[in-house]
Subunit: 333 residues, 2 copies
């Protein structure tokens, strides 16, 4: 479990998703000490019926629970065409794409979602955070192009963007976050301290009710269907304080049940290529498709290494010291 | 097929989604005359394997093809826990929620998506429409609350909002649409004529790349996986001009494979209620959950009738005249 979790954290940094990689280690140590994460626990399959299964994560590392869940979904899709697995009693699982990506080696479409018990996103017309940033990931195999890998929080931006803007005392665009009265704020410091993110779209006029709807959809699949906790429940204080009880939802769809694999891959290539070759906006630099920046980052970082901020290196040294582990991180300073 | 299609169009108006109800009839007549819609055609199941199936719509009405597809998905979920069905060679299917809603009577979660061959949405950093408004719908049963019904285009707004603003010569908010150079425009007339919608979120800074990713995801599932056309293909002129070749993707998930139904419904109720009861923004009126405005509208319109604009009544009278059918629409003027 330690190897797998470490590998996924490093893979996440390789892909450039620095917010969800080794930078999470100090937080995971804190959650372990709070009793949320049981590193030696083994997830249990509590229900298993052909195309579906339910996994009790037993408070193991989310990365490990999720890998077990997605492996099960893939095995089911191999046998039955599609496989869907929910997990409860889990923890933060890092980047959602880690698990949708697993389907690609099997020429399947992979789906990965997670909720979280930490309220961060405000319902449209509300002023209290009631939903976590509930990400959605879908990965689809391609031929010559990089595979399509969508991995998006259902909030407009991540908390990380607010902390960076607050640190530099820069204004944020209206629509990212709200002040305590529920009005849009451009003051990064207010936004960072109130932590009231808008759902994708921002306000109602800009379609924020759609991002809000997507976030609730994720809570229905990962919280309610999986039998895990959800952010609004935490608000009601009915959430057990001794565990995070994060829920996940995984799906695998065997492409060949619907179309010959070579035709599917050729058409994914054609679709992605058409989008990337379409005319640029004036002043624009480049049209991407989902996952492309991460594939390019991974290629570069496998060659050149992963840059770690000095502050993070210090934090990791502290984690090693506090846990009595040797600090072996070497590299250019 | 005529009854079913008419019923779904009226149901759509009952739910207040006037853009996708009987108001589409003149367009459907035009598409029939162009050879896209074959009203007497019968969809064919071209592949059928336990949990999955592929339907060739045979250019029948999209509503009919989609109903066949979703019925098949539900039957598969009844037998196997989950069922997924793609359709190609179909037509515009009206409101996406018409089909996800079908799952509710079976205590299942319903999923419905469609693409379209009509480019309307611009990739992030682009200036040409390459994707249709590709909606996503998910419906989940509740207990005492209205069921959760998300039905959202993956664009920021619908074309309809631009035409209304253009008609009244009102400015539109920046972020809804682009001018021909790919820059945001607030001129409704420019926006309506160039028809370059932004993906949900608007520009890159506001998360528009996420809406763009969701729209491409729908094209991968409904266009590529289903073996139908897609908007970027239309752009390349490889799309057969004699049919729309719309693709759909349907899923049904039997709740009871994951959790006891009463617990699931009670938790959906608790989740939705928590969101609706959370504190209001200052100046805000009410917090909704997805589907609630439509359920309330349906209740009201079943009692009071569906208001039809005089212009639409005239259009419907023309359709009746041109097709040699009696015009029997009665009601308060």
């Amino acid at each position: 479990m330690a190897d797998l979790t470490a590998d996924l954290m490093v893979r996440t940094d390789l892909r450039g998703v620095d917010s969800h990689g080794v930078g999470m280690l100090p937080t995971y140590l804190r959650w372990h000490r709070a009793g949320y994460i049981h590193p030696a626990a083994e997830p249990k399959i509590v229900r298993d019926e052909g195309t579906t299964a339910v996994v009790d994560g037993q408070q193991a590392f989310g990365h490990y629970v999720a890998t077990c869940g997605m492996e099960l979904a893939i095995a089911k899709a191999r046998a039955h065409g599609v496989g869907f697995v929910t997990c409860h009693n889990s923890n933060h699982y890092g980047a959602a794409a880690n698990y949708s990506l697993m389907a690609l080696a099997h020429d399947m479409i992979g789906i990965s979602m997670t909720n979280g018990p930490w309220p961060a996103v405000v319902p449209t017309f509300g002023r209290q955070a009631m939903i976590s940033t509930n990400p959605i990931s879908l990965a689809a195999p391609a031929g010559r192009e990089y595979p399509f890998v969508l991995d998006m929080a259902t909030s407009t931006v991540a908390i990380g963007k607010l902390s960076v803007a607050a640190r530099w005392a820069k204004p944020i665009p209206p629509g990212w976050a709200l002040d305590p009265t529920g009005q849009p704020t451009t003051d990064a410091s207010v936004a960072y301290h109130t932590r009231l993110l808008t759902p994708l779209g921002g306000n109602r006029e800009q379609g924020g009710h759609k991002g809000y709807g997507l976030a609730v959809m994720v809570d229905i699949l990962c919280g309610v269907l999986a039998g895990a906790s959800w952010a609004a429940q935490t608000r009601r204080d009915t959430h057990p304080p001794d565990r995070a009880d994060v829920g996940h939802f995984f799906g695998a769809i065997d492409v060949q049940r619907f179309r010959p694999l070579d035709l599917f891959k050729a058409d994914v290539d054609a679709l992605l290529r058409s989008l990337k070759d379409s005319p640029l906006a004036e002043g624009g630099g480049r049209i991407y498709v989902a996952g492309e920046p991460e594939w390019e980052c991974e290629t570069m970082r496998r060659r050149e290494g992963i840059p770690l901020a000095p502050g993070l290196v210090d934090q990791l040294r502290t984690v090693a010291g506090e846990t009595g582990l040797p600090f072996t991180l070497a590299g250019r300073r």
